[in-house]
Symmetry: C2
Subunit: 289 residues, 2 copies
Amino acid sequence: MLGGAATHFALAASFFDRVHVVGPVGEDFGEAELEVLRTRGTDVSDVERVPGGRTFFWRGRYHDDLNTRDTLDTQLNVFERFEPRLSEASRACEVLFLANIQPSLQLAVREQCSEARFVALDSMNLWIQTARDQLEEVIASVDCLVLNDEELRQLTGRPNLLSAAHAVLERGPWIVVAKQGGYGAAMVTREDFFSLPAYPLREVVDPTGAGDTFAGGFVGFLAGLPEPRRRERRALRNAMAYGTALASFNVEGFGTEGLAGVSGAQVLERVRDLDRFTRLEPIEVPLHG
Amino acid sequence: MLGGAATHFALAASFFDRVHVVGPVGEDFGEAELEVLRTRGTDVSDVERVPGGRTFFWRGRYHDDLNTRDTLDTQLNVFERFEPRLSEASRACEVLFLANIQPSLQLAVREQCSEARFVALDSMNLWIQTARDQLEEVIASVDCLVLNDEELRQLTGRPNLLSAAHAVLERGPWIVVAKQGGYGAAMVTREDFFSLPAYPLREVVDPTGAGDTFAGGFVGFLAGLPEPRRRERRALRNAMAYGTALASFNVEGFGTEGLAGVSGAQVLERVRDLDRFTRLEPIEVPLHG
């Protein structure tokens, strides 16, 4: 299936703002795939087709709960020798998402986008194990780290979510988002904690790309706001909700099918649902003791 | 350590109402343990001390994330031959919690409490595997099933939380609460879905008893309300919050230490925190597509 971080991210983020995708593809990446990437005006002029190359490939098997998975095959392919050279338009971006790939490539892109006011980063266990120094370097240069909660534990050596998040907050980022698979996601800043469940669905078809779709909604929502508002607690919480709503459509189909044809109104409807599903309105009762 | 479902449940529920504990203990259960059970006026006259008997015993090892565990030893001991004979006061209870034990014992207690207006039930994988028929019978006789989400999947054969919960709702209960360990808990009724994260803590000392403490807060809060209010959406959601707040104190210490000395004001403070940690206040933005 067509997938990959850039594809899922761009499909989600393009609901909010114009997305510029940077990255290499192989000769197997045809016009039909580029057309999906161009959805809602996404700019693909920095997508570099490598002659004779093959596109990045991932294959895995999900466990019964669709929440944990085993990677069966990862082929970096065209990413192995990629040297990002960004166009003027991409370099001028105000908001940047560094999708999960070798930290050295993330650093190269980060450095070229010197104007960026908000930078988010994803990574994975492979780079924690094999490229920790470079990963730490790129983490120190971003505003927001978005990571699976298990990887957050691996990165920091702290089994506790809150403790692990605060360890990251000491290294540079001022937001940590822990993706929790089917349980949702939690956001930690120095001043705030926020948790949101996954959107409840009767059937999940394919969780692949849910994390990147979430990131697309999260970062895209913030990109759609002017700079000062991006730092407000309510804006950051809404970014989580839009990311969660968009991810819920993604998992309802294989590859990019889930989000295909979804309207802005449908996304808004699920954001409103998430508010209803989590509203507490405390009742204070007399307690003994 | 002193523990067990009845102990943890009673310590939590006694914040709201008078608890009557029913069950057998062995000669190893002394006056000090009974004294803990008597906290905040809990009635222990139906706690039966079996001459020559040994108290129920559990030992386990938690994984690094403190979210999953392996049982190393379970000894039913005095529960093996227990035949519950409830006092008049216990039989007259309006609200009943059937803690996790053989379904045949749960059924015997359920039948003696014929006046109960609200009955909740906990169980575990062992009974799903070895006593399914009796478990199904007792499930059909209760209002609320409280179960770990993995056990909910085992019980129904449905890997999806929402789908599994609705399968249970067809069998009698009108509330299903899925305990999700460190991720919190979700509540499903025919009309509603509600999800609440675990209270975020920098350090978790011992998760043992968190589920029973949660149940004590959940059922105890509802027991403190008059019957019609118990069925209201907002009341049920608050029951989840009080259960979650109380469970967070429990995991901060071993055995019953965590909840010892906790005041009603401290519990209320954490309920208010949970409201703050989950409040979304949607921002509706124009979306492309």
